[in-house]
């Protein structure tokens, strides 16, 4: 691992000026992705600016039909939150299936979505629930946040302060995990929201995406049978040693079906 300057920020403003003032500065949230990435020499930042000392970035609150999760909230905290489990059990369950206990003890929602790994779990919840991403500069709709593989709408010096999830009438997340890494080979988040049914798929393609045909079918009948025969094309899907594009396409239908069944309890 190449060396870098470590800086601990005391406020959001301090963090932003440290990152933008550095030659190649990066924010450090939980570090569960960026530290391995630097070790592999896939990234070589000049400065890492730690957000862990900033007050007010880590809370979880539920009120008025909205679950708000601070950007620095750890996966283990979301998983263990009784308020989250009560409001959106699928979200607590999703957080409890990320990586392993030690990764969940450090990894954060802000870090996860800012990184936008194609196989990460949280993007499916952000898009599947129609969440809003709050940054130090603006609010970004979940649908507009994830723009491509490891790409987001975040600009230089912009960091995720919190994510607000509207509470759906029902929701569930089902993933087919890679047995070694627990990353999603395919994960499908389904929700019955005020704006209609939503189906968000992670792991299958370069970036989380919605399946309009399934959402339409669930609008008619929110039942597993409604999506059972809807196949998605494998042309744009990921193919690697773990699963072919064709297999991932097949899994999207299977996971969607199971997620709907689970949402219906």
């Amino acid at each position: 691992m190449y060396d870098f300057n470590y800086r601990k920020a005391s406020s959001v403003g301090d963090a932003v000026s440290a990152v933008t003032g550095a030659e190649d500065g990066r924010f450090l949230a939980g570090g569960m992705t960026i530290i391995p990435t630097i070790k592999q020499r896939l990234a070589k930042p000049s400065d890492l600016v730690d957000l862990a000392g900033i007050d007010g970035l880590a809370g979880i609150s539920v009120s008025g039909g909205v679950v708000e999760i601070g950007g620095m909230a750890r996966h283990a905290e979301v998983n263990a939150s009784a308020a989250v489990a009560d409001a959106i059990p699928a979200l607590a369950q999703l957080a409890g299936g990320i990586g392993d206990p030690q990764v969940r003890n450090r990894g954060t929602i802000g870090g996860s979505i800012a990184n936008n790994d194609p196989a990460a779990d949280y993007p499916a919840a952000v898009v599947g629930l129609g969440a809003t991403v709050h940054t130090n500069r603006r609010e970004i709709a979940g649908d507009a946040f994830f723009t491509g593989m490891f790409e987001t709408a975040l600009e230089d010096g912009e960091l995720v302060t919190k994510v607000s999830f509207p509470v759906p009438s029902k929701a569930a997340y089902m993933k087919f995990p890679n047995p070694a890494s627990r990353y999603a080979i395919v994960g499908v988040f389904v929700a019955a929201t005020a704006g209609g049914p939503r189906v968000a798929v992670t792991g299958a393609g370069p970036c989380v995406f919605r399946v309009a045909e399934m959402e339409q079918a669930l609008g008619g009948s929110f039942a597993p049978e409604a999506v059972a025969d809807i196949k998605i094309g494998d042309g744009d899907l990921n193919s690697d040693i773990h699963a072919s594009a064709e297999y991932r396409a097949h899994l999207v239908t299977v996971m969607a079906k199971r997620a709907v069944a689970r949402a219906n309890g």
Binding site: Y2, D3, F4, L28, G31, I35, A52, D100, Q102
Partner: protein, 158 residues
């Protein structure tokens, strides 16, 4: 660029000069000579490097020493009370929960955190909660048995 990183390790106040990139596991092993914490994969998968930072289990190969500035760190060396093993270590011994022993320090640290966070434990939960620790010898059966045996002892029920 180096700077001083201070923390409490196994109850003792310690300080050492570190680069930005110095990992917590390097700090423990190379600066403090606490070599009980192992480096297995160095890719945050195997869990041989698990220690407790402020009471929470973490993979010390994926945490910078700087991130633990001011923290209360406990390693495998900090568990036993003189010649008396910690109940989890004793349960590992009793249940033959190790063979080569390389993964054991991390297993024990993860297992203690697991017990601390669960009022009750069953086999399925133990196996799920052990996902961050790999063992290439035992097949896990005796590790699971040891954790289930240590749970009531640590909770003061036995």
């Amino acid at each position: 660029m180096t700077s001083t990183v201070s923390m409490t390790v196994n109850g003792k106040q310690v300080s050492a000069e570190c680069e930005g990139r110095t990992l917590l596991v390097q700090y423990l092993r190379e600066k403090l000579a606490l070599t009980g914490t192992h480096v297995g994969c160095d890719t945050s998968q195997c869990g041989a490097c698990v220690v407790h930072v402020d009471g929470i289990s973490v993979k010390s190969c994926t945490l910078l020493a700087h991130q633990a500035e001011g923290a209360d760190v406990v390693t495998i060396e900090g568990l036993a009370d003189g010649d008396t093993l910690h109940p989890m270590q004793e349960a590992f011994r009793e249940n033959h929960a190790l063979q080569c022993g390389f993964c054991t320090p991390g297993m024990v640290m993860s297992a203690i955190d697991m017990v601390n966070r669960h009022d009750t434990l069953d086999e399925k939960t133990v196996r799920h909660q052990l996902e961050g620790n790999l063992c290439r010898c035992t097949g896990y059966h005796n590790i699971v048995k040891a954790i289930l045996a240590a749970h009531p002892v640590m909770k003061g029920a036995a």
